[in-house]
Every structure is written in structure tokens, then in C-alpha cells.
Amino acid sequence: MIQLTHQPIDFAALTESVRSNQAGAVVLFLGTVREMTHGWQTVALDYDAYPEMAQAKLNEIETEARTRWPVIECGIAHRLGHLELGDVSVAVAVSCPHRHQAFDAGRFLIDQLKEVVPIWKKENWSDGSTEWVHPGTEVNPKVQNPMSKE
């Protein structure tokens, strides 16, 4: 199940939806709104998407994961709109016969999501400024602060 939603993500229900008697492992990944980035304080994030393409790309990465691992069920939900600190922005739930498959498939799904799915976040910093996060673009002094690297 793939879902783009403006409502809070029910990750318990998402997790339940991938459970199966064929699975010995269920992995859930949650992305949540973090307060501090390189010393800068976030008060909220706004998420935007190109919905048709995002849906298509999410379908593609699920299909790709299924070719690589024996995925039994897979659920991906991404929230859009205005999110406060601690809110769940994305949830990926995956079930496989064994745990290493489920961990690997889950990691692949969230990594690919962040790489190819047309969704964007805009930082609302504590100083009142806002800033789109566009990795690799260089008009981003706060996120690119050379004082700390991750």
C-alpha cells in the first residue's frame, strides 16, 4: 500500500497491514521531524510533492525491492503539508521471511525514496526564516554549515 496523505500517518495500522503468517520479520522505519540540524533549530517543516509522479516512483521502488528481496508485504506512507517537531513524515513497513531481508529491503526503500521520489521539504527555522531543502544546491547557508558535517 502506497499513500501520500495530509493526515497523520497511522504507522501502527501500516505495520499491521504488512504482517503475515509467511513473514518471520517485520521492519518499520519512521522518519520524524528533527529539531536541530548543524546547530540550526527547526520549528516546523512543510512538505510538497508532485503527487502523480511521486506515486509512480513509489510504485517503482516497491517493484524494485520485490525483485531483490522476498518481500511479502510492503507499505509506504508519506505525509505532506505542515508538520511540527516530532511528527512522523514518512513510514516504511516491510515484511519478509527473515530479518536481514526485511532490514535490507526497508533500508533500500527509504534510501530510494529520498533519492528519486519528487517530494520536497521546506525548513521553518526558529529565526523566522524559511528555506527549501534541495540537496546539492548551494544557496543554502544553514544546512551547508561547514562547522559540522554528518
Binding site: A49, E115, V116, P118, W120, H134, T137
Partner: protein, 81 residues
């Protein structure tokens, strides 16, 4: 050929519009599209080089034909998750 381009995230904010129509030559590629956007929407110039182009639901390559399409989109690198 009339070509409709959707803009997202910072591209939309800078351009001040979510959609823009360009008249492109039939042979136009994504490089021609970027150049035309820079001319018509100069506010996009600071991010022009980083803009990704999608046609339909797929990322375009430099040689993907774009003229006359209604489903072209441009946007900066993605940051979901």
C-alpha cells in the same frame, strides 16, 4: 509547439507560478527547455543548472523530446523523507 511546464518547490516559489507555457521548437530537448525557462523566467537563473526535468512520470535525459507535451515538470533536487 505549446508546451506546459509544472514547477515545484523552490522553482515554483522563485517563478511565482505553478505552471508556465512555452513555445518550443519541435526538436527541443531538456537543455533547450532550461535555456528557454531561464529567458522567460529569469528568477529561475540561480537554480537553473540544478533543475531536474520530468516528462510524464519519469526523469528526462538530456535528449528526451519535450516540445508539445502537457506533462513536463521542472524542480530542484528532491528532499522527501
Amino acid at each position: 509547439m505549446k508546451t506546459t511546464i509544472r514547477l515545484f518547490a523552490k522553482a515554483r516559489d522563485l517563478a511565482g507560478t505553478a505552471s508556465y507555457e512555452l513555445d518550443l521548437a519541435e526538436s527541443a530537448t531538456t537543455a533547450d527547455l532550461r535555456a528557454a525557462l531561464g529567458e522567460h523566467l529569469p528568477a529561475l537563473q540561480p537554480i537553473l543548472g540544478s533543475l531536474l526535468v520530468a516528462v510524464g512520470n519519469d526523469y528526462a535525459t538530456p535528449s528526451t523530446p519535450v516540445a508539445g507535451r502537457m506533462d513536463v515538470a521542472v524542480f530542484p533536487p528532491v528532499s522527501g523523507g
